[in-house]
């Protein structure tokens, strides 16, 4: 059943804004809920001021059909919240309220998200002083009252070398009843910096959306621009981007499994994986000179020369690394004392994962078949990637095991991609962007699906750029996984998600 209000399209095509009708709020709401009921999920949801009103865009993703859907409406100062009927929108609606001061009436959890000033001149929903920058973390936390309940606050400054975030636990003894996560400490206003672009600095800003997903975010950005400009990049460039994405996945997955082992005190895998992660990062450095893939992906192609000797070097190094990686990972996954820690801990039910709209590794660990490489393959990569690797338990072990199997799969993919590297056709200059258009690009970063959406103005400049990092969906999953768990298992659950703070804070 296809709702007539929904405009369906595939990533890689753009839509003229004039062709997308602005629905009435009731129609928008009904269509959105109907689509969600039919198995779609919210990939992106954002506002764009249009005169007095606020234009609201919802990008829905249907994994089975591999199609995206666009719904558009226009709202005033307040509107009935969608969250009670569609929980996966809860952060999107809070974000909207914080950016534009529109009140989602009946939102059950209306709190700031990133603690910044409104983007438009309007009254603050939380009564914070106008003109003053709000302090991150200043909000009413959920509290459990009672003689035996106690509260533990962790962060924003942590003991390890990680990003800042505040975690508030409501505990009964060692058991966590509720965890509330407050982020926003790293808000840089990236989306606003991109308006009016593409500027010369834009690509560098995109590289730092989430430093560990540089290739993922730049690939999503470049695909979006190429789609809007109608440019087709060479097959070789696409292949190199895929190689870089898999290298990024390898480095991070191996590092994550090492960190999981370290958290349960299993040191051999922790130290082996730390070394192996460095080796994988060095492979990316061989490609572009940066261990984190900076400068590797550019609109119109890839500026790196992957010649025959380099291909041979990469293949040879991967050949040595694969058995070593297998050894380090099997060592940990074969150990009963490690499995006793991983299994059954931090479980997220599939129904919860679906309601919260989890993506990426966290979703696949719950048995949800969500992998943009399989469901939304870009351009020529169609059919390269067969099935998403799924686990069904939704616990720490499942998330670890999805990573382990993806590491093995990435080796296979890399081997094939390096063997069948298409001949060079050089980089293509990027043309002008289509004016008054909307385009969406989806890219499966190592954490999960990265969704970039751009709306251009009448002159073909970016009027609105919306970034959705997988972490934006998945932080709620982490909070959910802690319900009823031991507080001492929090670091383990946290590592098993390993979400980005700056990708969320933007």
């Amino acid at each position: 059943m296809n709702c007539p209000a929904l405009i369906t399209f595939r990533p890689g095509t753009w839509i003229a804004l004039a062709d997308s009708p602005s629905l009435t709020l009731a129609h928008f709401r009904a269509s959105l809920l109907a689509e969600i009921g039919n198995g779609a999920r919210v990939a992106s949801f954002f506002g764009q001021p249009g005169g007095e009103a606020l234009d609201l865009f919802a990008i829905l993703a249907n994994d089975v059909r591999g199609e995206l859907g666009l719904l558009r409406t226009s709202i005033g100062k307040s509107y009935p919240a969608l969250t009670p009927d569609c929980p996966q929108l809860h952060l999107f609606e809070r974000e909207l309220a914080e950016q534009f001061g529109v009140r989602p009436e009946g939102h059950p959890w209306l709190k700031p998200v990133r603690f910044h000033n409104h983007w438009v001149d309007t009254a603050d929903l939380w009564g914070r002083a106008a003109g003053e920058h709000p302090l991150a973390g200043e909000m009413n936390f959920y509290r459990v009252e009672g003689e035996e309940a106690h509260e533990v606050a962790v962060g924003p400054v942590h003991a390890g070398v990680i990003e800042p975030g505040h975690f508030r636990f409501q505990c009964h003894g060692e058991e966590v009843m509720h965890l509330e996560i407050s982020l926003g400490f790293q808000h840089r206003g990236i989306e606003q910096l991109l308006v009016g672009g593409p500027h010369p600095a834009t690509i560098y800003q995109l590289e730092t959306v989430a430093g560990d997903t540089t290739v993922g975010h730049t690939t999503a950005y470049c695909r979006l621009l190429e789609c809007l400009a109608g440019t087709t990049v060479s097959a070789r460039a696409e292949a190199i981007r895929e190689i870089a994405l898999e290298l990024e996945r390898l480095a991070n997955h191996v590092g994550d499994i090492g960190a999981l082992a370290g958290d349960v005190g299993f040191l051999p895998t922790a130290s082996f994986c730390g070394r192996l992660r460095g080796d994988y990062l060095n492979l990316t450095a061989e490609l572009c000179g940066s261990r984190f893939g900076r400068g590797l992906v550019r609109p119109g192609g890839v500026p790196c020369a992957l010649d025959k000797t380099l291909v041979a070097t990469l293949r040879q190094r991967l050949e040595t690394l694969e058995p070593q990686t297998r050894g380090a990972l099997e060592l940990c996954f074969d150990r009963p004392s490690v499995l006793a820690r991983f299994e059954g801990v931090g479980r997220v039910a599939a129904a919860d994962a679906e309601a919260l709209g989890l993506v990426g590794v966290a979703a696949r660990a719950c048995g949800l078949s969500r992998d943009a490489r399989a469901n939304f393959p870009g351009g020529r990569s169609k059919g390269h990637f067969e099935l998403p690797l799924l686990e069904t338990e939704g616990d720490v072990f499942a998330r670890g095991n999805v990573r382990r199997r993806e590491v093995y799969a990435a080796h296979k993919l890399l081997n094939r991609a390096l063997r069948q590297l298409p001949e060079d056709h050089g980089n293509v200059p990027l043309g002008n962007l289509a004016p008054a258009a909307l385009a969406v690009s989806i890219c499966e970063g190592w954490r999960g699906e990265i969704v970039h959406t751009a709306i251009t103005d009448g002159k073909g400049r970016i009027a609105r750029y919306k970034i959705v990092d997988p972490s934006f969906h998945n932080w709620s999953g982490l909070a959910m996984s802690l319900r009823g768990e031991q507080i001492s298992d929090f670091p383990l659950c946290n590592k098993s998600f390993n979400l980005s703070y700056c990708g969320f804070d933007l």
């Binding site: 533990v152 040191l267 130290s271 070394r275 150990r335 006793a340 001492s488 670091p491 383990l492």
Partner: protein
Amino acid sequence: MLGSLVLHLVLLLVFAPLWLGIIIKAKALFGGRVGAPLLQPYYDLARLWRKGFVFSRTTTWVFLAGPVVGLLVPLLASLLIPFGGIDAPVSFEGDLILFVYLFALARFFTVASALDTGSSFEGMGAAREVTFSCLAEPTVLFALLVLARLADGLSLNQLFGDHLGQAWQGGAGASLGLILVCLFVVLLVENSRIPFDDPTTHLELTMVHEVMALDHSGPLLGMILYGAALKMMVMSALLVRLAVPWQTGWWLTDAGLFLAGLVGVSLLVGIIESTMARLRMPRIPQVLIGTSLLSIFALVLVLR
């Protein structure tokens, strides 16, 4: 008397941090790393000792008392036990009770100094520490009762006397084996080693013992670390004597044998830490109840 007192204290004070160095080295080798130098714990202590004191405004003298008592108690306790074939310098009937509760005293002050900071982390760690050591206490007492039964005496010198050699070969071998295992588990719990605690973790929420020292720094942290090393050596000394109850009668070879035994215990701890993950927190009480039952069983075996 004075000679053996000096020998005891010198052995303890000089060698205690070395065992930690051996454990760390063993773990590094299993992890495929070179690891810190063997003497790193000594360098750490020297570095901490040169630092200044930092006191939170919310703390009182209790905060200071924790590390001080934690350093003094193992020193006093060491005087009550034989170091291998070297007899304890201080010994009297019933000193085993004093030995056990000296450590309880140290724990009381450590916990009090942790609670004194008012930090929720430290409160959590204190609760865990007290729970686990409550559950470890029966194991120790039953193990000492087994030894008391075999020795027909109530001082630690008699308990760990040279009759143990015959006892191993006689009918009490099974009991001694059981309490050896039980006491080794207690050693791991009390000294916050894997699988019960992770001394190297930086994750406050998972710590048991370390979290209570989060607010201590400089010389106070040094005292805590040194005290922990002394405690580890004192408890290992009991294990060594139990497992290797031979003596030559000449103090130099006895001391050598004793130190070699301690190297063995440290290596064993290092190997266990390298090959096992930590237990989930709710499993620890279950293991400790298990060791209590084992030590009761060992007592039943020698009572028949």
